[in-house]
Symmetry: C2
Subunit: 197 residues, 2 copies
């Protein structure tokens, strides 16, 4: 019983530190943690920091300053839909991830585009979706690419047939395209994102 109250207090303190980090973009100093949580000595803060370090909430760098641990990685992958939910204890063991890290390899060369057409519907890319495009990747046959054909930009599967290239839609309403001139590829689609609501 007392152990549970203790754990909840520790968790609520971790959430306060996490909230500071989300709000300000940096970790709090020991003094700031003390003010936030009503601790008057930096030694008490230091001990709390050690406990949060053990929970992987945060880390200390070589100068003793705090850097974010799991709080920089906002979500957990819990398994499959059909497998259902792990227990709270099992859930605590799941690694936290960041979607930015998961979906973006080369930050300098990656951008988002909104999808307005329906030519890739059978590939699960619907109007209103967003595609993540990496300019630095070399397109391989089978990749989904953003390309300029006859002065118009489009998104399709790229297929290589010998020396030539075809752009293939994923919707029977549209026909494959055989570019007359040299194909200009802006980038490779590396991910799709859809937000509801």
């Amino acid at each position: 019983m007392k152990n549970e109250i203790q754990r909840d207090r520790l968790k609520s303190r971790a959430e306060a530190v996490s909230g500071f980090y989300q709000k300000t973009g940096r970790m709090p100093s020991f003094s700031e943690i003390g003010e936030m949580l009503g601790l008057r000595s930096k030694n008490a803060v230091s001990k709390l920091v050690s406990r949060l370090e053990g929970m992987n909430v945060l880390e200390k760098d070589k100068t003793g300053r705090l850097i974010p641990g799991s709080i920089a990685y906002p979500v957990r992958i819990l398994g499959t839909v059909e497998a259902g939910f792990p227990s709270p204890a099992e859930e605590e063991l799941a690694d936290n991830i960041s979607l930015d890290d998961l979906l973006i390899q080369n930050r300098q060369a990656t951008f988002l585009l909104k999808v307005s057409g329906d030519s890739m519907l059978d590939a699960g890319i619907m109007p209103g979706d967003m595609v993540i495009v990496d300019r630095s990747q070399t397109p391989k046959s089978g990749d989904i690419v953003i390309a300029e054909v006859d002065g118009a930009w489009t998104m399709k599967y790229l297929r290589r047939r010998g020396e030539s290239v075809i752009l293939i839609p994923a919707n029977p309403k549209y026909k494959p395209i055989r570019p007359k001139n040299e194909l200009k590829v802006a980038g490779v689609v590396t991910a799709v994102v859809r937000k509801y609501g």
Copy 2:
């Protein structure tokens, strides 16, 4: 000509600061920036910091410490696929965003599940995709939910008919489900994510 060299140098310095932030999880101090870039006086660093502040790369908080600006937000939304690409100057004006911020509202109550079934294919959710689920949202009619029916977990559209509830698939292979017992909803699907390669 000289202006372009200057701008490239500033950009490369911005990327060095960004790289430090990505690698360590915190912003560098003035001293660290000086060591990184070969500047020997903190005043020179201070002036560079002001220039980077003007570029929205970083900000200074009220204590003078650096916090990330656009470097915490790794991608830009550039427009629609069909509209094509803006000029580099126009691209610089586009806001940077974070996918974590875009897709996750309530960090404490959000998690990822992998999709293995095909019951929501016509909704553009394919096997291998990941869905983002928010435990804290109250499901409304029309929402996609993760629910437990007859001891098995599933993902479907939730429809309310008066007092009762139906779970509707987005694939003609499957039939709507009318739960016999009280429906247990684990959360509302707020986003879908698919990664290629």
